[in-house]
Amino acid sequence: MQRYDEDMAAREFEILEHPADIGFRAFGETLPELFARSAVAMLSIAGDPPAVEPRERYSLHVESGDREALLVDWLSEVLFWFDGRRIAFREFRVDRFSDTAIDATGMGEPRTADRHRSRLMVKAVTYHQLKIERRDGLWTADVYLDI
């Protein structure tokens, strides 16, 4: 089992501490990029996206009431595909985006125990200290996960 240490993909996201659980801060030049990277950040805590072959394409669609809820619901959707449908994703392409809806394509393949290592089992995405901000020309998102 590999470690999900801070050096990994350092510029796309970083790990945030929580007394019982774990979070991440993702960075993006645009909101669609921020959402795509947030999904990869979460999956890097749960698994190992760089080891995934992008052999298949999966369409994901989420609607929500506002930008923050959209981020939680989008990540919850990705987690459902990962834990429920057993799909390992390498990356995401956001096809359409607004503050209340996202259409995206996930590139990946079905999970197999020998090829896709698991790290922490992520139970859910939370609103705890959730923040989406634009700082120094860069979008950032702070998200905490229930482990």
Binding site: M1, D21, I22, F80, M121, T126, Y127, D146
Partner: protein, 476 residues
Amino acid sequence: MEIEAIDAWRYRIPRDESRGMRTDVRVYASAALMEQIRKDLSLEQAMNVATLPGIVGSSLAMPDIHQGYGFPIGGVAAMDWEHGVVSPGGVGFDINCGVRLVRTTLEESEVRPRLRALIDQIFRDVPCGAGGSGFVKIGARDLEQVLVEGAGWMVKHGYGEERDAEFAEAGGALEGADAAAVSQRARERGMPQLGTLGGGNHFLEIQYVEEVDDEAAARAYGLAPRQVVVLIHSGSRGLGHQVCTDYVSTMNKALAKYQIWLPDRQLACGPIRSEEGRQYLGAMCAAANFAWANRQAILHFLRGAFRRILGDGARLALVYDVCHNIAKRERYEVDGRKRDLLVHRKGATRAFPPGHREIPADYRAAGQPVFIPGSMGTASWVLAGSEGAMRETFGSVCHGAGRRLSRTAARKGRDAREEQRKLEERGILVRSESRDGILEELPEAYKNVDEVIEVVDRAGLARKVARLRPIGVIKG
């Protein structure tokens, strides 16, 4: 934040109307534990809970309290059944996460020589679930029944012994489950995971009874010194996680409709008597029943592993099974009047006193058994519920030791193999799917469970019955 000491074991944070608090916060802690508790956001979170509509009595914090999401972990909040709210986050993502204690007919000296083989066997038979599935194969129609019948369904279908379900809180199935309120996604995510332990702090520990503090109660629970027992900590797996995720989203969308203002969106809630509230409670009961079925399946596979390694002479019986993430309708006397309440226990355990009719007849004179797992490698406790809990905490006590270090802090500068070796030197074998899993759950990451127990015992919420020491640990 203003904190007043009431006595050596109780603190109070007065109601602050400027923060929208409808009541005060009461914290059960020693001075030393209070120092640790103040270091994270848990007290802020307990104050946020005090803002929820319909809260009755105080927002309660147990001595193992630590920072969670929305609600603190180790919190209890009772809501008026007619005018109060239900919050999916007040139950948590792992609906009916809980522990069951299993007693064996073996002594420590009989298990030690075969311990490694036993641990390896259990590790094979009770997967953590990262691989996607366990060894229970059920179809969609079976799941429909599992959601209503809980542990009983498993027993009826060969995963257990006749009296197992009787010795679980609520008989291993909550009434009021509404399978139709459980989304297709929750079913899809959870079904293959039935019979798996899960990750995070979930575990299965082989322990022995190290010390008996209350002989009569220990005898009633079938526990004696040196006896080997097994503590199982697991929950409703992906099914419960998805139910909570679905309903946090539903409740968030309904906040405006019910004119509910919240200091933290993770507290999302709706009136108990609303359509959203009714649906969530129906789905929550169904997920709770799935969790009991899960722990029942784990007991079944555990029995098989013991038989295989230690022969037919090893008999395993369920002592009891308690949930520590749940909301239940219960009746309490408040200011001289009996009231129907919805008691949210988020990282808290029900602890009914001697004589309560919801306790199995065999245990009624002793009080309800409560199990408090400590950290891997320290100790766990068996307690019995006391009258004090009925008077002060809506029949509730703590649920564990409570974390002290973050996961990253726990890993820092430590090597999993080295830590595993150190535990082995202390007579504790550990198997885990993940090395990080071992490091993140090291004893150093947690508060001292003995201090937590001291508080609930001295505050009169529950009394000590026995102390358990681990010899083998399987980590999710």
